[in-house]
């Protein structure tokens, strides 16, 4: 069973489009995260979210918004996609609220043309 899953695995789209990436965890964790890994393999936090609190890395453009329909899901919605958004996006989760080991999904490779 996959602990943290993401869909789609690959996403190719045009500039200006709006797209969503889905993440689901079956670990019963309270907190979920989104990270962005750029072409140089630098991995940077974007959001931390549990059902009580959203923490946003201040460098993330407001075109990016996390949406959580329930505790097991945290989707990433991106408006008006730009070329610089091309990257690999990783979802992760941890057990306690904002603490503990994070377990990562397989990543979604986004290419904006």
């Amino acid at each position: 069973d996959t602990a943290v899953s993401q869909t789609p695995k690959y996403l190719v789209t045009q500039m200006g489009n709006d797209k969503s990436i889905k993440c689901e965890q079956n670990l019963g964790h309270d907190t979920m995260y989104w990270y962005k890994q750029d072409s140089k393999k630098f991995l940077k936090i974007m959001f931390s979210y549990n059902n009580k609190e959203l923490i946003i890395n201040e460098t993330v453009p407001n075109r990016f918004s996390p949406k959580s329909p329930d505790k097991a899901h945290l989707n990433l919605h991106i408006n008006s996609l730009e070329l610089g958004d091309s990257a690999v996006y990783f979802c992760a989760s941890s057990q306690a609220s904002g603490a503990g080991t994070q377990y990562f999904g397989p990543g979604t490779r986004l290419l904006v043309l």
Binding site: K41, F42, L43, I45, F90, A92, G98, P106
Partner: protein
Amino acid sequence: SQELEQSPQSLIVQEGKNLTINCTSSKTLYGLYWYKQKYGEGLIFLMMLQKGGEEKSHEKITAKLDEKKQQSSLHITASQPSHAGIYLCGADLFPGNMLTFGGGTRLMVKP
């Protein structure tokens, strides 16, 4: 500049050799995590260190956190091709357990 510096950036070793990867910060590291990323895949959790001077081992991989909690090392003994990948250190520098990662160390093991 990165808040977490990893060295070396890349490493090529002969199978059977030992190697060490370092992770350094100017800030105190709360909850230092080591992950491995296989090329084109997700991150696999290796070990977590929290206390100054702590050392953990799993199979042929040993991770240490120094007493000041500003530097960690990952040591692989008798490396194998299966050890190849990108090793990332991550630390809790933001509130809410949002990990800051180092730039990664790309390891290649030649058979």
